[in-house]
Amino acid sequence: MTDVLDTPLVQQSDAPAAHEEHHGHDEHHGPSGILNWLTTTDHKIIGMSYTITAVIMLLIGGAFAELIRAQLVSPNGHLVTFAQYNELFTMHGSVMIYLFAGPFAFGALANFVVPIQIGAPDMAFPRLNALSYWLYLSGSITMLLGFVTAGGAANFGWVGYSPLSDSINAPGAGADLWIGGLLLTGFSAIFTGVNLAATIFYLRAPGMTLFRMPIFTWNLLVTAILILLAFPVLTAGLIMLFADRHFGTHIFSVSGGGVPVLWQHIFWFWGHPEVYILALPFFGMVTEIIPVFSRKPVFGYKGMVFATLTIAALSLGVWAHHMFTTGVVLLPFFSIMSLLIAVPTGIKLFNWIGSMWRGQIWFSTAMLMSIGFVVTFLIGGLTGIYLASPPLDFFTHDTYFVVAHFHSVVMALVLGGMAGLYYWGPKMTGYMLNETLGKIQFWLLFIGTQVFTFPQYILGLQGMPRRMAVYPHDPQWQNLNLWSTLGAVMIGVSSLLFAINCIVSWKKVPAGDNPWDAHTLEWFTTSPPPHHNFYRLPKIRSERPTWDYNHPEAPALAHGNGEGSHS
């Protein structure tokens, strides 16, 4: 059964007594079952689909990682062949970056949370939102299909450097499927970016001025802008690469007068903003969680927004720090721009500490994961500063030092994502996740991450290059690799614990509307929220409307009122 749904705006009522008020025409009478899933345009269901798909991708990418680490336990591992090893790390990187981290960051929780946080009934373009998901799902399948083709999956690294990705060096269908998958997920990302920006610009609730938006929403707005700036470049590059492979153009091949380094420019012009496209949503999650569990407002709200915007602005001018060792880029320009990114990132870090300072910290799993994020991200951030210095990059480029650096960063993001799942999971499903299992998972994940990355830092400094199926016999290298593998196993076990937690916690403890005494609008509605999110809205007078509503006795924020009114 299908029906024409006039979308009424959120039913507005400021009266607390109206809590039980129920609006019949707000009920959704759509098709049910699988057809409902296929035809839904509800951002919450799409967000859930995104979340589940992305977590499955995390598990697939994680399985590849475990295979890679198992191969490296001994210097001359025989678990996989050279060619299989190349496929494994290529697909590990591709699945994690393209199919897990990005979609999880701006498709999963963002899709679910952002409209509710700003008091909107749905995304601005619900059907486009559904299309984003289907493109993401089919793109993921396309990329993974490479494994069932005769030539195997793509094998030129997740960066696909030309000429290694041309038709001579990578003739297989796996490479084309990799390109096709990226085209699909790339368009999916662009549509999500358009959708998020339009939603945040046009569907905010009355009184929700730009400078009262939760930091998570702010970060997603900036992420959306970055997506729109960066992803079209990647899409264009992929089409050029495909043309080189099949239509006889010579854009990236020397023999026809092309320039191989051009691919690196195009790729990293997307690739470095992409790092922030991945990171900013997770920064936002943590920025929501830390103040809630410290019972304080976020420290330095405006500084936080400023830092996010600065990161976005600078991120477009740093791409060639991935190319310092090519010898054909302007070293000082990219060095100073990259170093400068440390400043807004540092502001964020200190603001997180400031949010905890003199608070009342409740060590829930979400909070523990967030603190784990801050610590791990600090390590990843500091080692990133080294890489912004060209001489030090010459020294460590393409060694395990770089691998360790970005795994510190992305494992911090995994910790942040887990924090988000423990925090918003109850809102999405209506049921709490088991805290004891969650805490065990946290310690395994946090310690595992450090055990995983620290040996890699040392290995890199001792000269072990990345992407090696075998490595020279050296007892110390083997020991370090063994430790790293142990860390990877701990991380793997922690992921399994999360899956177990999801199963054992299903329909056990109802969450209620606001289990965390949280600040933002999504905690004002039911868990899970009704079809168009709200039965009523509170007055919005600060960036913490739900908190203000629940704590009329608490002193109002000194700067919470009237911000943004000057325009």
Binding site: R295, V298, I336, L339, V343, I353, F363, F395
Partner: protein, 289 residues
């Protein structure tokens, strides 16, 4: 770990002035210059080339800054986490802004960044400098091996994968390198020299080494270049100048010329039979070395 001790970098004389001039931000670097090589290595190798040594010192400077900033921040986090655990149900003071503090942790990092950038520039200019020299080596990377030729002479070394070709270079003089690739992107990397550079098709990359120690140093391709990337080894052998000259002149003898010719033929044969791509099922993992 590297064991050869290096003489302190002529520091004691500069101690007092240096500290005053450089001010608070540069203190770690000043301390570094003062104490020369007694500063911990922070996991890095002290290099056997002049530029590599500068890089190593830069590494130490960055590490001191990172240790101070990172350690301090970690302590702050730890303090906050231990001190402010929830004790009761009261609502703490809802403080949100502290402008002077926020300005402090905006401006201080900017100053630190400028300091780091300034030291980076100094070292970078040293590392990428191309002093005039008559010692030149042409390096060509290919799937999956290296060709070292010495312009103006007959010397030629070629080797693939596990053969570990040896590149000779003289001690104590600037040696200029022209790095090219004949197929995909490769990475020329000598861990002991703290340096790597891409070998790009269609581009000639230049760099200079000034070795300070004789010995044989391990080298490897760092940029993924296909199937046998993990086996693309080479060696750098640093010998005294007379020894180097002798080695070059060997190639002028009939035996030497024959060796060079054999190497050239092996390379041509490899080019003729080279298959850049093989399906996964047909490749095993061979011996690493």
């Amino acid at each position: 770990m590297e064991t050869t001790p290096q003489p302190p970098q002529g520091a004691p004389a500069r101690s007092g002035r240096s500290r005053r001039l450089r001010g608070l931000i540069a203190l770690p670097f000043a301390a570094l210059i003062l104490s020369g090589c007694t500063v911990p290595s922070f996991g890095a190798k002290k290099s056997d080339t002049t530029t590599g040594l500068s890089t190593y010192h830069l590494w130490q400077g960055f590490s001191i800054a990172a240790a101070i900033i990172g350690g301090g921040t970690l302590l702050l986090i730890l303090y906050a986490v231990l001190r402010y655990r929830r004790k009761d149900d009261s609502i703490p003071k809802q403080s949100q802004y502290h402008i002077p503090l926020e300005l402090l942790y905006t401006i201080l990092p900017i100053l630190i960044v400028i300091g780091l950038f300034a030291t980076t520039l100094v070292v970078e200019n040293k590392v990428v400098a191309e002093p005039k020299t008559s010692y030149v080596v042409n390096i060509n990377a290919f799937q999956w091996g290296w060709k070292f030729s010495y312009p103006g002479t007959n010397a030629l070394v070629v080797g693939q994968t596990t053969q570990k070709p040896t590149m000779m270079m003289p001690l104590g003089v600037d040696v200029h390198f022209n790095l090219t690739s004949s197929d995909v992107v490769h990475g020329f990397y000598v861990p002991d020299f703290n340096f790597s550079r891409y070998a790009l098709p269609g581009v000639t990359n230049n760099f200079t080494f000034h070795a300070m120690k004789t010995g044989t140093f391990f080298g490897q391709c760092t940029q993924l270049c296909g199937l046998y990337h993990s086996l693309m080894f080479f060696q750098v052998k640093v010998v005294s100048l007379p020894e180097y000259r002798n080695w070059i002149h060997q190639f002028d003898t009939p035996a030497g010329a024959a060796a060079a010719q054999a190497a050239q033929q092996a390379l041509e044969q490899q080019n003729a039979t080279h298959v850049p791509y093989k399906p996964a099922s047909t490749t095993g993992t061979g011996a690493a070395n």
